[in-house]
């Protein structure tokens, strides 16, 4: 049964040049205890989508259409229709978000303990003893020493420790679902590794669902069960993680996978995607990727293709040429794209 179900969501925001269709007709389901990675580059709409999911969009943003259905204990609500109180309840207790920018947005003049206390108070938990016990328990869960961390000020903690504290804060009210925006981007390699391992452990132990928003394919490879690639505001491919990495069917996913070199194993034929993303204010007619796509034909420039089911199960790609991509790549072995093309 799905925890979150997004249907036909479109989000616009206004700029001086006109409305930007940042998210266009996005649909997906998030199952219980499942991890979904939403991968895209700058301008793909992934961050607009993420903040849209918890209705934290900045002013000037408009949800044009679609619904965000959230199910708990058999009850289904549309997030778009919640009033302010219910929304606050939803934001921490049901669906917590860990922002990338939050690494620097701790209040610098109050201690970590006060940050926990503030969060707890905002949700009606006023018993200091209980909050303290809960904070200690959570910090223990993220492998931090509560005795040392709670009295500390944010600047006394390293980047990795701050990220752990943020995860602990997010888990305070035992949410069913956690959204993480670029959770490891600003961190060093060894710290990144420890955060990834931590998230994996937490998910196993607590069984919450996760959505990652990232430009980094490797975090999806590490943690995701399913994966979405976004391009120019649309979902262009949606697949289980192994299918996405070894049998992508959308040329953009293919190009993105091929653009990232690896440290282990053979390098294969690594290459960038030519050109640059389209202007979101004036989208081209037809498939938005056609201008950069090596497989594009005239029909691609006629109409923007819908998500089509492809040869592997639970796998959709918004490309009328997916069969051609399948022919080029084949569908058998678990071999990375860059090697197949070498």
């Amino acid at each position: 049964m799905s925890v979150l179900s997004v249907r036909g969501l479109s989000i616009d925001y206004l700029t001086r040049r006109g409305p930007v269709h940042a998210v266009r007709d996005v649909s997906f389901e998030l199952e219980k205890s499942e991890t979904l990675a939403i991968i895209g580059e700058s301008g793909s709409g992934k961050t607009t989508l993420a903040v849209g999911l918890i209705r934290l969009s900045p002013r000037g943003t408009k949800v044009a259409k679609g619904e965000i259905l959230y199910t708990k204990n058999g009850m289904t609500n549309d997030i778009r229709k919640l009033d302010d109180d219910d929304l606050r309840e939803y934001r921490w207790a049901e669906c917590a978000m860990v922002f990338q920018a939050a690494l620097n947005s701790f209040n610098p003049v109050i201690t970590i303990w006060e940050q926990f206390l503030d969060t707890a108070r905002a949700h009606g938990l006023n018993d200091r003893r209980r909050v303290h016990d809960r904070a200690a328990e959570l910090l223990d869960l993220v492998h931090l020493d509560a005795g040392r961390v709670l009295p500390a000020f944010p600047h006394e903690l390293s980047g990795g420790m701050k990220q752990r504290v943020l995860i602990a804060l997010a888990l305070m009210l035992e949410p069913q679902m956690v959204i993480l925006d670029e959770p490891t981007t600003a961190l060093d390699i060894l710290t990144q590794r420890s955060i990834i391992d931590l998230l994996r452990q937490l998910r196993q132990r607590l069984g919450f669902s996760m959505i990652f928003i990232s430009h980094d394919l490797s975090i999806a490879a590490e943690l995701a069960d399913r994966m979405i690639t976004m391009y120019a505001g649309r979902v262009v491919e949606h697949a289980r993680v192994a299918d996405m990495f070894y049998r992508p069917r959308h040329p953009y996913s293919l190009g993105l996978l091929r653009a990232v070199p690896r440290v282990s194993g053979a390098l294969g034929s690594v290459a960038s995607i030519p050109g640059s993303p389209p202007d979101l204010v004036r989208l081209p007619k037809g498939c938005t990727y056609a201008a950069r796509c090596p497989y594009a034909i005239d029909a691609c420039r006629e109409a923007d293709p819908p998500l089509l089911p492809v040869d592997t199960p639970q796998h959709e790609a918004a490309c009328i040429r997916w069969q051609h991509v399948a022919e080029v790549l084949g569908s058998d072995a678990e071999i990375p794209v860059a090697e197949k093309l070498a």
Binding site: R193, L217, A221, L256, A259, V263, G265
Partner: protein, 335 residues
């Protein structure tokens, strides 16, 4: 043959409110003409300071910077100016490295006029067009009148590279030059830098935190791994990523998440004794890695600073244990 440019036991200390910090400690590195080399390390390892020392933007506290065998900080006047132009830096942030008030033409033509490579606007425009073509900004007419804010991150980075090329440099130091541009175009920027190296014999030193980028860029060259101000391993790229000798390099390579689910979920990891990176203000005695190192030996690693020593084969490592074991291993196979 002497190297084109060389750091000879160069150190750089900064004075901070907390006390002196040695960001780079007795680093020796030599680069040949036309070489493509990478320096990798995590934040605070001194790789950026090393890059700035190499370009002469920072003066070393001790040690020498040699260019064509001459000590740069002892040369003066025309020789120093020649060195400055010969070694160019490409910055990390393409949004900060171009002046927001100047067009691409203004940015690229200023050095041409200054160094008498163009006398009239017409000549300058011809050269600017040629430079833009060389960095794949085509057709150039679309770019000459643009301001930086009208360009994408990747395009700005190309303009920054073109600007470095206006003075015909012999060495380009690219500090995290691709880390702030979109994933899908990084490889093409790296290819551009590599092509410049190949076609014009420019030595390119790429400084990066991303080992995958380093491996791609220096696949026919060397990688130097830095940790807390020192070079801990210097080796041919494929031998480094395939068989790291220093425990820190091994830990990094094991820890990197890879864009491949099968590999990344089954990689061999190195467990460190501590996750905490020591403060530069209070560096551990002996080998700075010993408090975290799984191979650390009391009485040796915590007392004696390891030198960067050659080990079989074709690499140098700064680790007492790795040097001893690899040398013994080779002696055993010889016998």
């Amino acid at each position: 043959m002497t190297a084109l440019i060389e750091l000879d036991r160069v150190s750089r200390t900064f004075h901070t409110p907390g006390g002196p910090i040695t960001a780079v400690d007795a680093v020796s590195l030599a680069f040949d003409a036309g070489e493509a080399m990478c320096l990798v390390g995590e934040s605070g390892c001194g790789k950026t300071t090393t890059g700035r020392l190499l370009t002469g933007l920072l003066r070393p506290t001790s040690g020498r910077l040699l260019y064509e065998g001459k000590d740069v900080w002892r040369t003066k006047g025309a020789d120093l100016a020649r060195f400055r132009r010969a070694v160019q830096l490409v910055h990390q942030d393409p949004y900060a490295s171009l002046n927001p008030t100047r067009t691409v033409f203004q940015t690229l033509s200023a050095p041409l006029f200054r160094h008498k490579k163009a006398r009239t606007s017409r000549q300058a425009l011809a050269s600017v067009n040629e430079l833009l073509q060389r960095v794949d900004l085509t057709p150039p007419e679309n770019f000459v009148t643009k301001y930086p804010h009208q360009l994408s991150g990747g395009q700005r980075q190309r303009v920054a590279i073109a600007r470095a090329l206006t003075v015909d440099p012999k060495v380009i130091v690219a500090d995290e030059a691709v880390s702030m541009v979109d994933v899908s175009i990084r490889i093409s920027l790296l290819n551009l830098l590599l092509a410049l190296g190949r076609e014009f014999g420019v030595t390119i030193v790429l400084i990066t935190h991303d080992l995958a980028v380093a491996r791609y860029f220096a696949r026919e060259g060397r990688i130097g791994v830095m940790y807390l101000g020192r070079v801990v391993e210097l080796a041919d790229t494929e031998s480094l990523v395939g068989d790291p000798a220093h425990p820190y390099s091994a830990a990094l390579i094991g820890a990197i998440p890879e864009a491949d689910p099968d590999i990344t979920r089954s990689k061999k990891r190195v467990d460190l004794r501590s996750a905490e990176i020591p403060s530069l203000l209070r560096l551990p005695a002996g080998c700075t890695f010993h408090p975290r190192c799984p191979l650390s030996e009391a009485g040796l690693c915590d007392l004696k600073i390891p030198e960067l020593l050659p080990v079989p084969t074709d690499r140098e490592v700064a680790c007492h244990v790795a040097v001893r074991e690899r040398t013994a291993e080779q002696a055993a196979t010889m016998a």
